[in-house]
């Protein structure tokens, strides 16, 4: 399977998927920690995919979304944003609204 299909598979299987450095229990980068904390705070079930354990996905995800940085958040298959955008959406309530609309919380 090519990397694009592999990523699509992960995103399709998990309604809320965070590509991050480290795991939600032990993030290894401040930005990944920030987003993981936002999702925990909203009490949403999410899959944390540790890119540090998979170099192919780590590079592939940047191409997939045409986005140069990690973390990256996907909800129901759609790329939502990186740290800055998701934090902004959390602060203005948009993220919670989106999760409620998608019946995820």
């Amino acid at each position: 399977m090519d990397v694009k299909s592999e990523i699509k598979n992960i995103i399709d299987k998990n309604d809320v998927c965070l590509f991050m450095k480290g795991v939600p229990e032990a993030p290894q980068c401040g930005f990944s920690m920030a987003l993981s904390n936002v999702l925990k705070h909203l009490n949403v079930n999410f899959k944390g995919f540790n890119v540090l354990e998979n170099e192919t996905i780590r590079q592939g995800i940047k191409v997939y979304s045409d986005w140069p940085t990690i973390p990256q958040l996907y909800i129901k298959g759609e790329f939502i944003g990186g740290c800055d955008i998701v934090k902004e959406m959390f602060e203005n309530g948009e993220l919670k609204e989106l999760l409620i609309n998608k019946k995820l919380i």
């Binding site: 940047k62 045409d66 986005w67 140069p68 790329f79 944003g81 955008i85």
Partner: protein, 76 residues
């Protein structure tokens, strides 16, 4: 090689000429910056598109030489 505030500004201005840019070196280490950028080019675009425009102006440096640049964008 870390980038200076001036170098970052220059790259952004080169591709977004009308940009108003405010950059802070958050830790004084030339490695963790925050940038607030406004431009007409952002009008009517989603946040993802707006940030992509900024990333493109940095010509692949984001996520490489530039480890930490937090971005806030707005239209004009």
């Amino acid at each position: 090689m870390a980038l200076s505030i001036e170098e970052i500004k220059k790259m952004i201005i080169t591709s977004i000429p009308d940009a108003t840019i405010e950059i802070k070196d958050l830790m004084g280490d030339s490695n963790h910056y925050s940038a607030k950028i406004s431009s007409k080019i952002f009008n009517g675009k989603s946040k993802i598109e707006q940030h992509k425009i900024v990333y493109k102006s940095l010509q692949g440096k984001m996520g490489n030489e530039l480890h930490a640049l937090s971005i806030t964008t707005e239209g004009k």
